[in-house]
């Protein structure tokens, strides 16, 4: 590689760029003209109901499935340049892939043997913070310990894109908090990019820099977290002002006991809403419910 190329690698060019992705599973679209961009140094939450296409999108990015459309990951096509791409991409999936018989020591040996950017000392340092010992086998570990091992292995690889598919599924709250703490303290920096899918939205929403909602294989909302508060406002509308509020076309409306109504507005200036009732910045769970309304109906 020449110098010009490596400079281009650290530009602001998107880490992932998808256009018109299509994938059918048993005749049903899992990706339907999907398009999105993910920039460098971002922590992106890919959020959607079960069966929305999250995992399919991630598998496409990782080059694990065939699909139609245009997809560039770190400038490469995952369908044809997968081996090259995998030097810069790591992932943890909800289905643990570590064999049950393997010992911690052997797992480290293995990754050190196959991955040129694996830093063994770093991995061993991460493991010092856990109860894992070199002799321990995966089958003797709790689910939380397996994820700790997995995370230590992955964080010791100097990859530029880390993909986490439901990484904390089935873990108790202590392990979940610890997982994200380690990620922020020992791994993430402005040259790295993390994509996370999870159903525990409220746990990661402050960690995210960006969010994507996916539904029926389409990206239905793509936003930077720090602009959500300008774009969406949640108002607890006073009983007497309902008609006035409805005239501003809320995207969601929900009547509460004792006469108040919660309304979610998109793109309406806060000054126009201030008189209607108490306003607040909606959290991701509120937005998710509003955007996904009718999904299972």
């Amino acid at each position: 590689m020449n110098a010009v190329h490596s400079e281009a690698v650290y530009s602001d060019a998107p880490v992932v760029s998808a256009r018109g992705l299509r994938k059918l599973y048993k005749g049903k679209p899992a990706l339907d003209d999907t398009r999105f961009d993910i920039g460098p140094g971002r922590i992106v939450g890919l959020i959607g109901p079960n069966g929305a296409g999250k995992t399919t999108a991630l598998k496409a990015v990782l080059g694990l499935i065939p699909f139609e459309g245009e997809l560039k990951v770190l400038g490469r096509d995952p369908r044809t340049e997968r081996d090259d791409l995998m030097k810069d991409v790591c992932f943890i999936a909800d289905v643990a892939v570590l064999p049950r018989w393997i010992r911690v020591r052997e797992a480290i040996e293995f990754v050190a043997g196959v991955h040129p950017r694996f830093d063994r000392a770093k991995c061993e340092r991460f493991l010092l913070n856990t109860k894992l010992t070199p002799q321990m086998r995966v089958r003797e570990m709790s689910k939380g310990m397996i994820v700790q091992l997995h995370l230590a292995l992955v964080m010791a690889i100097d990859a530029r894109l880390l993909i986490l598919d439901e990484p904390t599924l089935g873990l108790d709250i202590l392990y979940r908090k610890e997982f994200y703490k380690r990620l922020l303290e020992d791994y993430f920096d402005e040259h790295k990019t993390i994509v996370i899918t999870t159903h525990q939205v409220e746990e990661i929403e402050n960690i995210l820099t960006d969010v994507m909602f996916i539904r029926d294989g389409k990206v239905v909302l793509e936003a930077q977290m720090d602009t959500l508060g300008e774009r969406y406002v949640d108002v607890l509308v006073d009983a007497g002002r309902l008609e006035e509020a409805r005239a501003l076309k809320p995207v969601d409306e929900h009547a509460l006991p004792f006469g108040k109504t919660r309304m979610l507005f998109e793109g309406v200036p806060a000054s126009q809403l201030a008189g209607l009732g108490e306003t607040r910045i909606p959290d991701l769970a509120d937005l998710f419910v509003a955007v996904m309304k009718g999904t299972y109906a």
Partner: protein, 125 residues
């Protein structure tokens, strides 16, 4: 693990900034003290580092903290003075007009304000 309850009324970077300012006003953070690193705060409070950087940047813009190259952020010597000046300015701009309006409405004069009636029956305080 430290739990912080963020309110949903204001962006989190601003709440974080206010928290640091409150610690300065309370004397928990004194001039010359180091702020914890962005990475540490992000990990401990489970925030994205951009949020933390933004809060720190605003504190730096207001000269309450300064960056020392390679070492991190430190509370400035003039932070206490600045904060007092800021608080005074805010009081005069936001709180005082409201109080003044109330004083007028209640018909209180200088005498009443400087030497309040002992029984307090002229005001409702």
């Amino acid at each position: 693990m430290t739990a912080i309850q963020w309110s949903d009324g204001a962006p989190i970077y601003r709440q974080l900034k206010e928290r640091v300012i409150a610690m300065m006003l309370d004397g928990v953070l004194k001039p010359g003290d180091a702020l914890p690193s962005v990475r540490q705060v992000a990990a401990e409070y489970q925030l994205n580092p951009i949020t933390v950087s933004r809060a720190y940047q605003e504190l730096a813009d207001e000269a309450l903290v300064e960056k020392r190259r390679g070492l991190g952020m430190y509370v400035t010597e003039e932070a206490a003075k600045k904060l007092l000046a800021n608080e005074r300015e805010r009081f005069l701009r936001e709180e005082w007009p409201v109080v003044l309006e109330r004083i007028r409405r209640l018909g209180l004069d200088m005498q009443d304000l400087v030497h309040p009636a002992v029984n307090g029956h002229r005001g409702d305080a």
